[in-house]
Assembly symmetry: C2
Homo-oligomer: 341 residues x 2
Amino acid sequence: MPPTDHRPLTLRDVSEASGVSEMTVSRVLRNRGDVSQATREKVLEAAKTLGYVPNKIAGALASQRVNLVAVIIPSLRNMVFPEVMSGISQELEETELQPVVGVTDYLPEKEDKVLYEMLSWRPSGVIIAGLEHSDASRAMLKASGIPVVEIMDTDGHPVDCAVGISHRRAGREMARAIVKAGYTNIGFMGTKMPRDHRARKRFEGFTEQLAKSGIEIMDREFYSGGSALAKGREMTAAMLERTPELDFLYYSNDMIGAGGLLHLLDRGIAVPGQIGLAGFNGVELLDGLPRRLATMDACRTEIGRRAAQIIAARVADPAAPVAPVVELSPRIEYGDTLRRR
Amino acid sequence: MPPTDHRPLTLRDVSEASGVSEMTVSRVLRNRGDVSQATREKVLEAAKTLGYVPNKIAGALASQRVNLVAVIIPSLRNMVFPEVMSGISQELEETELQPVVGVTDYLPEKEDKVLYEMLSWRPSGVIIAGLEHSDASRAMLKASGIPVVEIMDTDGHPVDCAVGISHRRAGREMARAIVKAGYTNIGFMGTKMPRDHRARKRFEGFTEQLAKSGIEIMDREFYSGGSALAKGREMTAAMLERTPELDFLYYSNDMIGAGGLLHLLDRGIAVPGQIGLAGFNGVELLDGLPRRLATMDACRTEIGRRAAQIIAARVADPAAPVAPVVELSPRIEYGDTLRRR
DNA sequence: GTGAAAGCGCTAACAT
DNA sequence: ATGTTAGCGCTTTCAC
């Protein structure tokens, strides 16, 4: 076997193999312009037998167009983001655009880096989680001149436009429902992530609203690392030990809430009679637990869809009108752990 | 405000702003070659104040190098894959390489499309889930001339090389452990996914090994869609109704296994005394359930790491020696649902 | 319906 | 240490 030095095939190779000019080959491969049926077939045939794969790098440089949409999210391990991704993919499937994911691990420095990296590929648009970004990132986004949609959160000022829910409001509404249901001794558990602005805003909205009813959180605890389910169990056990008079536990996510629920059931504590529970996200994952945890849907797929729609519309027509902020309205799902009044 | 027509900045702009040749600007921005401290600072200053972001498309075309590694997986919604991704990211973090994800939804046609799409960006390597690909995909991978690592599975013949576990063996080993523990009336539950070759291979290995002990599966059921936990519950209930003499249930993944476990506990059935259970994957997610489900770790992070290492090594030195197949050895985790003999 | 020429924004290779 | 030249593989534009 000859030492096949792997020079990738070029348009020229297809051109020579088919006896058609590079230009016409290019037209056939992109379905652009009029090409006779005869030449079209010759070209396709040649391209296929050679195994030609077009070079998008050269194409993008020449055409100044890149069909990529940069999607920048904090993590893939929190089910929320894959679900947003699905919404985005579904919507972009109908277009020429393709999502490309970058992960920041909730680190602003990494966000800067990932964003810079992605922008250097000159994508057609950016979808980025959250409204809190470094000055450097905001500057890059503004200077990029491409459509930018900030997702998940609407409490703040987008660079370009935003699609999400108000986490502050979500926290307030949950507080209202809990107070209305007659609970007064309330504990909070969440993740120890100062960078998780959305969890923070929910917490703030929650405590503010409680304050309006003259209620203050009786106990709180934050965790990091490990299995959320197990942590929910442990934290709940510890908190009830410490503060036995609690009658409601609000969790910053459904997984730790589920852990808490399992602990209470193990202990034979009446839910929601003796102690009520609520989480956040509405993860389908948990359907199938002995009780359905009260929660609030974060509208993940819908957010992805809407964001993708905006990008697609702006790519199709840069002058397309865009609402600066699209705020979706999640509803409380009472499930079986928050009594209704 | 003048109608800022957004021509993105080029090297030339930085060159003019700093009074340094384009070539030297390029050198500074890439930390290549000797540049005096003075010019370096001038250039960095100019680039920063202008907000210049290099154009990787042009860079890649000129240098014929693209620091991207294509990672092609069936789904992001199955936690297995984000975990593999983490392993890959961790490992690539130390290099210049960057992972780019493509999702196939377990559809061969989509795999062809995604692969073609990614290869057209001329990545430095490909990491792709599974060993089963269309002829078209195998041909593309071979012709690409770049390192290709097929992951997750080692039962078959890789195009280039593979890192994973033998799912057939995993199925056999679980069968052996179950038989050894004295269970004989065995049921199986899994996903209705003819495309999930790894689940299929586990099932095949499982039944083959049982056959050697003269045991045949007594009942089986496959589901699709919906929450795995809930489905596990339902299927388990239905199966025990139908075939009450079952004393062991083997699930193709931990989520449905967990659903089954919750059902049995609700019903007050002794686990693993009356009925034993086992799943597959070793998802940390589930730590915190009332019992730890017997399972087998799929070595997800490790697989990602190893695959990334291979790509990185081959990019650094194309002649680097590579083992054609790296087979990791998952161990049975007995947990609390499979008695030990 | 098809082709030829110019150039997209960078970097390799070679000056100086 | 810095600059010059010639492309990378395509697409745009214009000519036929």
